[in-house]
């Protein structure tokens, strides 16, 4: 069966269970499905956060995620993968991002999911702005995210 690659950038929420089911439904060649969900936290260290607003670059966001999805498909023996990234205002507890990978065996599914998340963090054109009680500020990029993405180039 052919591999299914789904990339969506959307404002509305997604149903994680339904996305996992869609990837594996009716197939008998998938032995491992890994999913990662990124959620909005209610605080950044001691500072309470009312909401995050995610700005994105329409067109490039989809293209950049698809480019890394294709790299993951080429690098690991995957039966399919799904990446969904939301934009707009997101409140604590809500979903931000979903990565689902399917493979015959777990190692490829785990590694590909981690690869995709590491690259989403550093290369997908999204920017988080935190809304706090005293205004708001843009989230700063973290060097440990760059380090995490760099290890895949080794």
């Amino acid at each position: 069966m052919t591999a299914i690659v789904t990339v969506r950038v959307q404002q509305q929420d997604f149903d994680t269970a339904a996305e996992i089911a869609a990837l594996s439904h009716g197939r008998t060649d998938i032995g491992a499905v890994v999913s990662f969900s990124g959620l909005c936290r209610g605080n950044d260290h001691a500072t309470p956060i009312a909401a995050l607003t995610l700005e994105h670059y329409p067109g490039m966001a989809e293209a950049e995620i698809m480019r890394h999805a294709e790299q993951a498909m080429a690098r690991w023996p995957l039966q399919g993968l799904t990446v969904i990234h939301r934009f707009g205002r997101i409140t604590p507890g809500e979903n931000i991002v979903l990565v689902v990978t399917a493979s015959s065996h777990r190692q490829a599914a785990f590694e590909a999911a981690e690869f995709l998340m590491d690259y989403l963090k550093t290369n997908a054109p999204f920017w988080k702005r935190e809304e706090t009680t005293d205004g708001g500020s843009w989230v700063e990029a973290k060097s440990h995210d760059d380090d995490a993405a760099a290890r895949w180039t080794k």
Binding site: G38, L54, E55, H56, Y57, G59, M60, A61, A63, E64, H85, I96, V97, M117, L120, K121, T122, N123, A124, P125, F126, W127, K128, R129, W138, V139, E140, A141, D145
Partner: protein, 83 residues
């Protein structure tokens, strides 16, 4: 060419996009940043640390030494914080 700005680069410049016609002497992404910086206080503030600024030509990541010839759309933005 069309230039787009995102996140705090957009806020500091005060607009999301504009059309600019830099002189022929402006050949690379880095030279375009330097040229834009001269356009006003907001630009100077947005590009005060040029090494921090990321760029894309026609929706593909590029480096400061990338040539801008033939570009339809150039975007400038801070390091990305998605995921």
């Amino acid at each position: 060419m069309k230039v787009k700005y995102f996140a705090w680069v957009r806020e500091r410049i005060g607009k999301a996009e504009e059309t600019v016609e830099p002189p022929e002497s402006v050949r690379t992404v880095g030279e375009l940043v330097a040229w834009l910086t001269e356009r006003g206080e907001g630009y100077a503030y947005a590009f005060e640390k040029p090494k921090v600024i990321r760029a894309a030509i026609d929706q593909t990541h590029v480096q400061p030494d990338t040539a801008i010839a033939g570009a339809r759309e150039i975007a400038f933005f801070p390091p990305m914080t998605g995921g």
